[in-house]
């Protein structure tokens, strides 16, 4: 039953249950918001979105106010505009507003609102915030001074991740956002996914930067600097340079990385193929020998930390495979070091990841070999863009180049790792071949594709009906794990990614991308899979060569030493 309402003197239709903001958005009327998050229950905390409710004469928050029959709304009267401007001015009154020195300079919602509302003089000068920064986490830096208490980070951590590492502390003007007992993030239950950074409107949350170390290595003539980039990077980086979302800039990125000065450029999708070789062997081994099932993927370091804290009972289920980042790191400092006749300690290994948790993963104690770290520095997609600008590379005027050999070729299955369901699809393609000796007739497994938070399907492999589940967003993982705790036993293999939609929507990606942009990145991965000739990991010629010349066979002695790891319970306040 439609309702008739009036907005800015014009009649409009509204549906019961909608908020005023829903109707405004649909009709192309923009009202500024801060605490509002699409698809979340409104909180109405910041009051940026106020509109005039003429029937009552009050200002109401459009994000949380439901439509009513006969309601008359004005969205941009001088009263409304003044009220919004006042809110911005009050937010600025205790804000450090040292914008020129801020990591979010030029990409800050508070800055944008100040511009939009023509805030040009300091009318209200208050006492500036004076909290201490939290630099304790290997992944995420918090600067509570810049926090405007919109609560978006708190909500994403609780509602999407099911972690709740942070919440409001204290009351009134002393309020800040922090962990339990206001300790450092490093000792909290934080899984380092970085989704809080993605929703933060200001510079209160950012990744722990590794650019200084990387620049130092690049200018050190005694170091061979090697870089690898994750499957999701090539379809996400474009947005940082104003190109169409989903544009695949793989070749341009290779060229840019060489121009910056990296000696060798490798693709983590190669080691995604390697992961598939190991993980599918592990799956087959567990099925054949009565090992712990369901097997759960271990590519996502945020999920792995989550399991070590919240799902300790599932640790035996988590694959012992290191993630592709760490596998490639390990191979670079052994097989490849040998190949280029360089000592592993003279190699500086950098990775580009769509992820902040990868920074944490790289410094895990077990991610070393004979005391040498697998990966030395990890930069996010954002940091790579910064580095490209810093070194004056013009992405619009360079020619695409190929990756280096022998760790640069990938199958499109490895490339699919960038999106939720990709690891599953790649693993099933190879497991099917290993078990039946034949390739799948149809490589595309549509049931595990797409951005949906929870996907399930069954696949007949020989005599075995394999049940698989793919979840992204750790809250979804929690629900699935609870089902298994309660006795569900028809699932053999689970892919878990912490970020909703997988790495293409990771915590290290371009800030400000909407769902449409993320979908474009995903479609771009699927297009690559359609186009590529090598569609399965076990046909990657360089992976085959690596096994022949160095590793032996999947799950073999060398693999165990370099490519597998262990997990243990973490004692943190939950």
């Amino acid at each position: 039953m439609e309702m008739n309402i009036e907005i800015n003197n014009r009649p409009m239709k509204a549906n019961p249950g909608e908020t005023i903001l829903d109707v405004l958005t649909r009709n192309g009327i923009k009202v500024p918001t801060l605490c509002h998050m699409k698809d979340y229950f409104p909180s109405g905390a910041c009051r940026m979105c106020v509109v005039e409710h003429e029937n009552s004469g009050r200002l109401v928050t459009s994000c949380s106010y439901p439509v009513e029959e006969g309601m008359r709304i004005k969205t941009h009267t001088s009263r409304v505009v003044e009220a919004r401007k006042m809110i911005v001015e009050l937010l600025l009154s205790n804000h450090p507003d040292d914008c020129l020195y801020c990591v979010r300079n030029g990409n800050c919602q508070l800055q944008e609102l100040a511009v939009e509302h023509h805030v040009t003089e300091r009318r209200i000068s208050g006492l500036k915030n004076n909290f201490s920064k939290d630099l304790s986490s290997p992944s995420i830096t918090r600067d509570p001074d810049k926090c405007i208490l919109c609560g978006r980070c708190v909500r994403v951590c609780e509602e999407v991740m099911g972690v709740s590492a942070i919440d409001y502390i204290n009351r009134g003007s002393k309020t800040l956002i922090g962990t339990s007992f206001n300790k450092g993030l490093n000792t909290s239950s934080c899984v380092n996914c970085g989704q809080c950074i993605m929703v933060c409107p200001t510079g209160a949350l950012s990744e722990k930067g590794h650019l200084n170390e990387i620049q130092m290595a690049l200018s050190d003539p005694s170091k061979k600097v090697v870089v690898q980039y994750a499957p999701a990077i090539s379809v996400s980086l474009a947005e940082e340079f104003g190109m169409q979302p989903g544009t695949d800039v793989n070749g341009l990125m290779n060229a840019a990385l060489r121009k910056i000065g990296f000696d060798f450029v490798f693709d983590t999708s190669f080691s995604a193929d390697l992961t598939i070789m190991e993980e599918s062997a592990e799956l087959i081994d567990r099925v054949a020998n009565g090992g712990t099932l369901p097997l759960i993927t271990s590519c996502c370091p945020a999920w792995v930390k989550y399991a070590e804290e919240f799902a300790v009972d599932f640790l035996p289920n988590v694959s012992s495979c290191k993630s592709p980042q760490q596998m490639l790191g390990a191979v670079i400092k052994t097989y490849f070091a040998d190949k280029i006749k360089t000592k592993p300690e003279d190699i500086y290994s950098v990775s580009v990841m769509p992820c902040t948790a990868k920074k944490f993963e790289a410094q895990r104690e077990d991610m070393t070999h004979h005391g040498i770290t697998d990966v030395d520095a990890v930069m996010t997609t954002r940091e790579l863009a910064q580095l490209i600008r810093l070194y004056g590379v013009d992405m619009y005027n360079i020619n695409p180049e190929l990756t280096d050999s022998p760790l640069g070729i990938r199958s499109s299955a490895g490339k699919l790792f960038g999106g939720s369901g990709g690891v599953m699809e790649a693993a099933l393609r190879t497991a099917y071949f290993k078990l039946t000796g034949n390739e799948l007739k149809e490589f595309k497994i549509n049931a595990v594709r797409g951005l949906t938070g929870r996907k399930e399907t069954k696949l007949q492999i020989g005599d075995l009906e394999v049940g698989v589940a793919v979840v992204s967003g750790l809250q979804n993982a929690k629900v699935l794990l609870d089902e298994i705790r309660n006795g569900r036993d028809d699932i053999h293999f689970i892919e878990i990614m912490a970020c909703p939609g997988g790495c293409i929507a990771g915590g290290g990606q371009h800030i400000g991308a909407d769902q449409k942009a993320i979908l474009s990145r995903l479609s771009s991965l699927y297009d690559i899979d359609d186009r590529d000739s090598i569609k399965v990991s076990h046909k990657n010629p360089e992976v085959i060569e690596l096994y022949e010349k160095f590793l032996g066979e999947p799950l073999g002695h060398m693999s165990h030493e370099l490519l597998h790891t262990e997990y243990e319970k973490r004692e943190v306040p939950l």
């Binding site: 709740s164 590492a165 919440d167 502390i169 009351r171 339990s180 007992f181 239950s189 306040p573």
Partner: protein
């Protein structure tokens, strides 16, 4: 200590998140403060993340997160005391003891708590130490009071 917390929680078997504040009050009553262990225990029993419990507890002045000192000093910050200068009294106290409101000195001797009106407005500004009222406190008299207590301990 854990024993006490477990008992309190056992007595409220089946309690849900709406019992959080009364449970925290009982624990503070019995233990003197809310320890990290206590908060974790409450969290796992009620299914509430510790960050949320800490958030709720820090919202209210009544909860403390450090054990009380041997001398627990309540500084009244009610209206009458405020008008007669309790802000300076509190400021002075924090300086003398090198501890903030809600904290305990490192030697465990003194702890400071800010309270709203304690109903002794005629004596404003007033400070209460272990149940004894000190009336019309000034910066100087406060220094003497603390010195006297310290001397007792030597």
């Amino acid at each position: 200590m854990k024993h006490g917390i477990a008992e309190i929680l056992d007595a409220r078997g089946g309690a849900k998140r709406d019992s959080l504040i009364p449970i925290l009050q009982e624990i503070q009553e019995s233990e003197g403060f809310l320890s990290q262990e206590a908060v974790s225990e409450v969290g796992s029993r009620l299914g509430i993340p510790t960050s949320k419990i800490y958030g709720v507890a820090t919202f209210y002045n009544q909860f403390r997160f450090e054990p009380k000192g041997k001398y627990h000093i309540q500084v009244c910050r009610g209206t009458a005391c405020h008008v007669l200068g309790s802000a300076t009294v509190l400021d002075k106290l924090e300086k003398i003891l090198k501890a903030k409101a809600g904290q305990t000195t490192r030697d465990g001797l003194f702890s400071i708590e800010v309270v709203a009106c304690i109903g002794a407005c005629g004596l404003a500004p007033v400070v209460n130490i272990n149940g004894n009222f000190y009336a019309k406190v000034t910066e100087q008299s406060l220094t003497e009071i603390i010195e006297n207590l310290k001397n007792k301990e030597v």
